[in-house]
């Protein structure tokens, strides 16, 4: 099976054990078969970018990892522990931070309350302080209702919410979506600062941001992994980009 050989490639290249491993994962939204046997690894300390066209199954992959959608087949392991059948809160408590596609900050709660709510047992004040340090803009607005913030500020709250715990893995879904270029740069800078302190699985359509952050790249198409390799490799391969990402003249 090609996808199996692809899935092993990142691990084989570096010889390290993956933090996250998806093996032949199938999942459905209602009766639509979205993920049709996804397999790939996420290696510790690295940023793996999940690429693919709209509707390829990127967001569904993140939601399936979290258990928000059940995997009907296949296994998902974090640090070797099988979490395929666990409830969402049990999965997250193993050390996953999630930044959803639409930010999903709690509009009626203040910035501070959003962050405090995200703190799981054992979260330290020091981490909260560091999250604020990363986004000084938020520090001033701790008492402000999150619903009254700009899109960029809400994205910062959403990212900060994933940083207040000592997570093994961050799942970040399209942090650039709907943001002005200036704000995209700000968010990219912040994520560059986070990179290296934790492991990230990033869904991103914005190739500039993907290039700035990504170490490894996994491309999915129609719910299957069609390419796995280094981000540099994808950046340099215009034919690959044209075929699967809909960029370039041949799309």
């Amino acid at each position: 099976m090609t996808s199996t050989t692809i899935e092993r490639s990142a691990t084989a290249r570096t010889g390290t054990e993956p933090i996250l491993r998806l093996a032949n994962v199938h999942s459905y939204i209602a009766e639509s078969h979205i993920l049709q046997g996804i397999s790939f690894d996420v290696l510790p300390g690295r940023v793996t970018v999940l690429l693919g066209r709209n509707g390829a199954g990127k967001t569904t992959t993140l939601r399936t990892i979290l258990g928000l959608l059940p995997a009907r087949e296949g296994t998902i392991t974090l640090d070797g522990a099988n979490l395929t059948r666990d409830s969402v809160h049990a999965v997250v408590r193993r050390g996953i931070g999630y930044v959803p596609e639409d930010r999903d900050v709690f509009a009626g709660l203040t910035v501070e309350q959003n962050l405090r709510l995200a703190q799981r047992p054992g979260a330290t004040g020091e981490r909260l302080a560091r999250a604020y340090d990363l986004f000084p803009d938020l520090k001033k607005r701790g008492a402000q209702r999150a619903g009254s913030l700009s899109g960029g500020q809400q994205q910062m709250v959403a990212i900060a919410r994933a940083l207040v715990n000592d997570n093994r893995l961050l799942l970040i879904d399209e942090p650039s979506k709907g943001l002005a270029p200036v704000v995209v740069n700000q968010v990219t800078e912040a994520l560059v600062a986070v990179k290296g302190t934790t492991t990230i699985l990033l869904v991103e359509q914005n190739l500039a941001m993907a290039r700035a952050l990504g170490d490894d790249a996994v491309i999915i198409d129609d719910g299957r992994v069609v390419h796995a390799g280094s981000m540099d490799e994808v950046s340099g391969d215009e034919a690959l980009q044209a075929r699967y990402l809909g960029v370039g003249g041949h799309a």
Partner: protein
């Protein structure tokens, strides 16, 4: 003047009772999207368990002060316990099926209410309360029964307590965040099901408490006690805005006063005015007085 004062204070006491019933309903709907038709039964059981407690503790036909306060505690505990049983035993397996939930709460409500008439016979029971509670105090010429004041004070305490709970405690934050976006709360690693049980139990406790105070307010109870008041509580929730505790308090005052004044000046206008108010709110502010736009 004295009539006005009497009607106002009695209306506020009625409002306090509606609020105790509506606050739980509103929180439950806000967080869980469950229309809890069993809520009236928690109220009925609160009233019956209070009456039963007084009957056990006090000699026949009288209600001593300690018995009354014990009855309030028992009613609150019974309300909370029944709500927990309904949530964990019946609702939890059905969170993916909203229609089934409505049917199951309706069925649980009918069954629990009927059970009171099986256990204690269907005829109305006089609710014995301590003399100081049924006695009147004179305010600006109006002779107002003391239980009205106790009911208003209890509702104000509950309102303050709930606002503190929602604003200052972690569970309060979970409830508010969950009302906005349950899935995201789960994705933060929070066990929302536990918050569901807590909110349901809290709502049941308030309904039980409301039932005990309602029994003191009306002076007698029967098995349909809860279902009659549940209708008004639902109207309060809709007018106040689903999920808003402050909105429920405000709407309860509007409904309680409208009902009292309407019923005093005509034999029919009390309930009619309420339906008109409901229609007006639904047309002009479909989200309710303090409701969000969801």
């Amino acid at each position: 003047m004295s009539t006005f004062v009497l009607l106002t204070l009695t209306g506020l006491a009625l409002a306090a009772m509606y609020f105790l019933l509506a606050a739980g309903l509103s929180l439950i709907f806000g967080l869980m999207d469950v229309l809890n038709f069993a809520h009236g039964a928690f109220f009925t059981w609160g009233a019956y368990s209070a009456w039963w407690t007084i009957d056990q503790v006090s000699p026949a036909g009288t209600g001593s002060t300690p018995a009354f306060f014990l009855a309030i505690v028992v009613a609150t505990v019974v309300g909370a316990a029944l709500a927990t049983i309904v949530e964990v035993g019946l609702l939890r397996p059905l969170y993916a099926r909203p229609i089934f939930q409505v049917l199951v709460t309706l069925g649980a409500g009918l069954t629990l209410s009927q059970l009171t008439s099986v256990i204690w016979r269907p005829d109305a029971r006089v609710f014995a309360q301590p003399n100081w509670l049924s006695d009147t105090s004179t305010i600006l010429g109006a002779r107002v029964p003391n239980n009205r004041f106790l009911l208003i004070a209890a509702a104000l305490l509950v309102l303050a307590g709930m606002l503190l709970f929602l604003k200052k405690t972690r569970y309060g934050l979970i409830v508010r965040a969950g009302a906005e976006n349950r899935e995201m709360v789960r994705a933060l690693g929070i066990d929302v099901d536990r918050a569901f049980t807590l909110v349901f139990a809290l709502g049941g406790a308030l309904a039980g408490l409301g039932g005990a105070f309602g029994a003191a307010y009306f002076g007698s109870i029967d098995p349909s006690f809860g279902s009659v008041n549940l209708i008004f509580a639902f109207i309060v929730v809709v007018i106040g805005g689903l999920g808003s505790v402050t909105g429920s308090a405000l709407a309860a005052v509007v409904i309680g006063l409208a009902q009292q004044f309407g019923n005093y000046y005509t034999s029919w206008a009390g309930d009619f005015v309420i339906v008109l108010l409901l229609a007006a709110v639904l047309l002009l502010r479909p989200g309710g007085l303090m409701g969000s736009t969801r």
